[in-house]
């Protein structure tokens, strides 16, 4: 029986090519990877929204990634494997439901193919287009950019497609500590970016 299963699996799997030319877009990874793998009824569907994350639509994926810092833009672009999202699906990350559990790996009910992880990493390395920011009522977002080796913290426009747009306001100083960043935010905006 096991031979038959292995043979059938080989035949069925041998039809494809080793070249992965799938588009690394938010729409594609949501509809073909994240939704079927992660958005099961009691997990990250809109129905349950476990730990605040949902991946069943493009909008909910964008919101989860941005609001819950699953991938930080542009911080994780240079090293996608270090992002919270990739860490969670490869080696696990600390349980939100109960931190005493230690690292928990997702998806919980069925592992994710390595090629899908690589496509997610490629999407992050490309600058996570579509989920760099979440458009707010004021169409603004808060981003730390690295320019010529210096951290430049400012307020940027967040385009309707979820990508960071033009610089709206640069902080008067380049803050390097959380306190300075908070001060910058408070002074530079009306808080709409948070």
């Amino acid at each position: 029986m096991l031979r038959l299963v292995s043979l059938a699996a080989l035949v069925a799997g041998a039809c494809g090519t080793a070249t992965d030319d799938r588009p690394a877009t938010l729409e594609y990874i949501t509809d073909t990877i994240l939704a079927p793998s992660c958005a099961a009824a009691q997990c990250h569907s809109a129905f349950k929204r476990q730990v605040g994350d949902a991946f069943d639509t493009v909008a909910s994926t964008r919101h989860s990634i941005v609001a819950n810092l699953l991938v930080s833009y542009p911080g994780d672009v240079a090293d996608p494997a270090s992002s919270y999202l990739i860490q969670t699906i490869t080696v696990g990350s600390q349980s939100i439901l109960d931190p005493s559990l230690g690292n928990v790996r997702m998806p919980y009910d069925s592992a994710m193919p390595d090629a899908d992880v690589k496509l997610l990493e490629r999407w992050i390395a490309d600058g996570l287009p579509g989920a760099q920011c979440e458009p707010s009522a004021s169409q603004r977002t808060c981003v730390v950019q690295s320019v010529a080796g210096k951290r430049v913290y400012g307020i940027y426009a967040c385009n309707s497609d979820g990508n960071v747009g033009d610089l709206v306001m640069t902080c008067p100083q380049n803050p390097t500590t959380p306190t300075e960043q908070l001060t910058c935010l408070s002074g530079a905006t009306d808080g709409a970016c948070r």
Binding site: S6, R22, A41, F47, G52, D98
Partner: protein, 379 residues
Amino acid sequence: MTRSGIVGVAVAVALAVTSQRAHAYPQYQLGRDQTCTGCHLSPAGGGLLSENGYNTAETISQLGTAPEFMYGKVPTPSWLALGGDLRGATGEIWTPQSAFALFPMQADLYVHATYQGFSVQLTGGGRPAQWIPGNGTPGVFDRLWSREHYVMWQQNPGGSEGLYVRVGRFMPVFGLRLVEHPDYTRRYGGTPLYAETYGAAVEYVTTAWEAHVTGFIEDPLIDPVVHDSGAAGYAELRLSPRLSVGGEAMWTTSDGHDRFRGGATAKLYLPSQDVLVQGELQFVHQQVDGSRAPNQLVGYVMGSKFFSPAILLDLGVGHYDENIAIQGLDRDAVDVNLHWFLTSHFELVWQNRVEGIGVGQSTGGPTSGWTLLHGHYRL
């Protein structure tokens, strides 16, 4: 690991894997009866049993016992049918991390009221509460819902054949309708757990053939599991009392994502062995944001052997290829489920799965699986 930790991971893991609704057992078809309506009030099968369904429940159980609702101690008028299902499970899951699981799965009550050819079906019970920011505790009403509620007209009231028309909230009839929602043709095949939504169906059931056509929309009242609107059709032709073939098609659209499913089913009963072999194969064509069209393949074959009236062994093999153009994206599962129908109301199921990704290929993924024991009590 702390006690609260064990409970936390148990609920999160196990609910993801094994919660289910009370589907019918298509393992009984052909071998015990020709149609789902032979044992169930719903033309789709599942849920409340008919008189013949009660008799079957008693016949296949180890210890018998009165099969009626609450053992017949709560008599109901002929126009009213009541019932319910309670489930819970425990076991170990590897994906590939190992996690212990102990959890409730289902607590549903059914009410079916009939007036001449018309009837009202209501299923009410528990649901997984939506996450509350800050890891808050949901209220009682956050944990309750009605998964199914519909009005039905039936051409032959009290019968099991003829024309049915339903309007309301229910699962579109599609494919084999296996009871275990992790089976690939359910999870990846268009009818995952809690995919019930609002729609209208026209269905015709006879001993020789049946057909179901459903139009449905995304649930406008709650945050649903499935956001699709579309239509589904399923037809099954019984070529002989031991052999049936079926065809299926479903088109859905949601948020710039169009999907078409087409497939076939087959069932063969071998009376000399008391074995039913059934299978379903789907081809799925998707249109994602207009740019690419990843085609998929979803299949499941299950052999069911009755070792005695009360012992049923299922051996299932599933295949799901999320993109047939690329290697390493297909997964295969072997399921072994052992059912023991202890009484006409109580069932124990030992469920086991081993799943591999990209089996035999240069790229794939972790191997995972589970072993779970779950109990099912029918009111």
